[in-house]
């Protein structure tokens, strides 16, 4: 028989998992890029990789403290945003999409190549960089929590830090998007020539947006690797697409959309994979092997994205009025 209790509790765990927080923050970065500014950044995985490797390499190779490693990651993503933005932000939006998707792949392949094996760990990636972060943990050792949410001190520390960062990033984004700065940014999304004709330096604003959303992605990349190891194959293009799925699910030009979208995405993904795996075990799906079952959940994600875009293009939190007009 199927153990429904285990399926539901495994799914509930995803609600506050650091991975969910990391995806929420990366999606918030994309909301700044795509939802508010209209920049089609398909390279969010590249920004996340820079955060993960920037942190891990600074700690392992150079022995930097936590704060310095974080700054190195952020610095790397600012440089990356400048390299992407300087040639492409003057061009039409679709060029940025092509350049970012290629640049993110270049970043991933550079981290994968054997040439830098001593520093990047090549395809095996990096691990053992969590000491500094764990040492900052003020929570006494032990196990806390209730029901499915029972973790040791490190896991709680990680969750608290991750979600605090997400909340701060949400508040920051909410504040700037209702300021005159945000108004210029949304104006650029609608028609950048009109904004230019009103005396705004559109190029500088697009660059600021690219950097800001990229830094969100970078910090998300750091949160993402704290409960696991740094593995280059995690930063494939599909990562960017999952983040886009979360963004569209929640609503592209919203603050809470990416957060709630990420929670729904991970809870549903965990539920589906748990259910399918156990259903195959129980013989409910005789035409399917357990390996095929592992892949089925991603097919379901794809179907879910299609359904959202067709039937609820504004997402869960999006303003329906904003999409009621055809451009």
């Amino acid at each position: 028989m199927i153990d429904w209790g285990a399926i539901f509790s495994n799914a509930a765990v995803e609600l506050i998992s650091p991975t969910t927080a990391a995806y929420a923050l990366a999606a918030l970065g994309l909301a700044v890029h795509f939802g508010y500014t209209g920049l089609l950044n398909f390279g969010q995985a590249g920004f996340m990789a820079l955060g993960a490797y920037g942190y891990a390499i600074s700690t392992l190779t150079f022995g930097f403290p936590v704060w310095a490693s974080v700054l190195v990651g952020i610095g790397a993503s600012v440089v990356f945003a400048l390299i992407l933005g300087i040639p492409t932000l003057r061009l039409r939006a679709d060029y940025l999409a092509i350049v970012t998707i290629a640049a993110a792949e270049i970043v991933r392949l550079l981290f994968t190549t054997n040439t830098f094996q001593p520093v990047t760990g090549s395809a095996n990636g990096l691990s053992g960089y969590k000491g500094g972060f764990a040492d900052l943990n003020p929570i006494p050792a032990g196990t806390y929590g209730f029901g499915p949410f029972e973790y040791n001190a490190y896991d709680w520390w990680l969750r608290i830090v991750a979600w605090t960062i997400v909340i701060l990033a949400c508040l920051f984004t909410w504040q700037i998007m209702r300021s005159p700065w945000g108004r210029v940014i949304k104006g650029i999304r609608e028609d950048e020539d009109a904004v230019r004709a009103l005396g705004k330096n559109v190029y500088a604003y697009k660059m600021q947006s690219l950097i800001l959303g990229g830094v969100f992605g970078t910090i998300a990349g750091m949160i993402f690797v704290l409960p696991r190891a740094v593995v280059p194959s995690n930063y494939q293009t599909s990562l960017t697409f999952f983040v886009y799925a979360i963004l569209l699910l929640g609503g592209a030009a919203t603050i809470l959309g990416p957060v709630i979208g990420s929670m729904i995405f991970w809870v549903l993904l965990s539920f589906f994979s748990g259910f399918i795996a156990r259903a195959v075990e129980a013989g409910w799906l005789p035409f399917m092997s357990s390996i095929q079952a592992g892949q089925l959940r991603f097919i379901l994600v794809g179907v879910a994205i299609m359904l959202i875009v067709i039937y609820r293009p504004q997402g869960i939190f999006g303003n329906k009025k904003e999409l009621a007009f055809v451009k």
Binding site: S179, G182, K186, G187, A197, G199, F325, K327
Partner: protein
């Protein structure tokens, strides 16, 4: 300054702005914009080739010409939306040749577009506020601290409401600009441009796609710009309108300025008639009688219409 926009019987024309004969490129007593040797080619086509041109201050200047004459290209060049192959120009004595569009706008030379660019998914009020110059809160770091920009924002809102009331859009201030009609969007675009207190307003076909009921109101708004001391340069095809409100008319054809002058005089100019109708319009080419009919209609409009 709110609702005194009732149409006046006949606009007061500014006269005597030029020095010497009203020939292409003639000097003005008080030019706001002086253009020298500007050219722009697209492939083999010389879209704009203007030797010298002066736009008078405090007047309404119309830029007319047949399709493909280079009016909009010249507009784009002068506002920094396109880069010229050669040439330079000064605005209020400052050289702005090749300057970026946003810097040109900050100097007080704002433009509107032939295809209206209302920012659809922003409210009418947000559209207006975007037009205000030198906003503290438009800096990313200061944006985080609302107390730095709240007062300026409130001040801009009062100004925007006042302008919206003049343009009869104040009841729509919280609606998305996308819900406005085409004519209302034209009004909004003009009102938004005025938020920056410009000295030269450049309107690219302000009447295109506007229904006749709104035309009169738009005309009055353009006349009001002049009454408030702004200079206006506009591209237009509607000859009635040009004749009605323009103080000075510049005619372009095939990229060159072919005539300049008072709106009534300039339409009698042989170069203008040639530009619109072709040089052989009075010869019987023995083909396409329909085109001939249309030309006769157009020239009647040019010549016989005295408002």
């Amino acid at each position: 300054m709110s609702n005194n926009t009732v149409p006046t019987a006949k606009p007061v024309k500014t006269v005597g702005m030029h020095i010497g004969e009203a020939v292409p490129g003639c000097k003005k007593k008080d030019p706001i914009l002086v253009v020298d040797g500007v050219s722009r080619t697209f492939g083999g086509l010389k879209a704009v080739d203007v030797e010298h041109l002066e736009i008078p201050r405090g007047a309404i200047t119309a830029l007319i010409g047949p399709n493909g004459a280079g009016k909009t290209t010249l507009f784009n060049l002068l506002t920094g939306f396109d880069k010229p192959d050669t040439g330079s120009w000064t605005f209020e004595g400052t050289s702005i040749g090749g300057m970026a569009a946003f810097k040109v706008a900050r100097m007080g030379q704002v433009r509107t577009f032939q295809l209206t660019k209302a920012l659809g998914l922003l409210t009418v009020m947000d559209n207006m506020l975007l037009g205000a110059k030198a906003q503290v809160g438009e800096n990313l770091f200061r944006a985080v601290l609302p107390f730095l920009w709240r007062q300026q924002e409130a001040h801009n809102k009062v100004k925007a409401l006042d302008l919206l009331a003049r343009f009869k859009l104040d009841t729509k201030k919280d609606d998305y600009a996308a819900s406005l009609s085409g004519g209302q969007r034209k009004l909004l675009e003009m009102a938004r441009a005025l938020m920056s207190d410009p000295t030269l307003v450049m309107l690219d076909e302000p009447m295109a796609g506007v229904n006749p009921a709104l035309t009169q109101s738009l005309l009055d708004h353009i006349l009001n710009l002049k009454a408030e001391g702004m200079s206006v340069l506009f591209v237009e095809h509607d000859m009635h309108m040009v004749r009605h409100i323009a103080d000075w008319v510049i005619v372009m054809a095939e990229g060159k300025v072919v005539a300049e002058g008072d709106p009534h005089e300039v339409m009698r100019n042989q170069a203008v008639i040639d530009a619109y109708l072709g040089q052989h319009h009075d010869e019987d080419l023995g083909e396409d009688p329909d085109a001939g009919q249309q030309n006769v209609g157009a020239i009647k409009e040019l010549l016989d219409d005295e408002l």
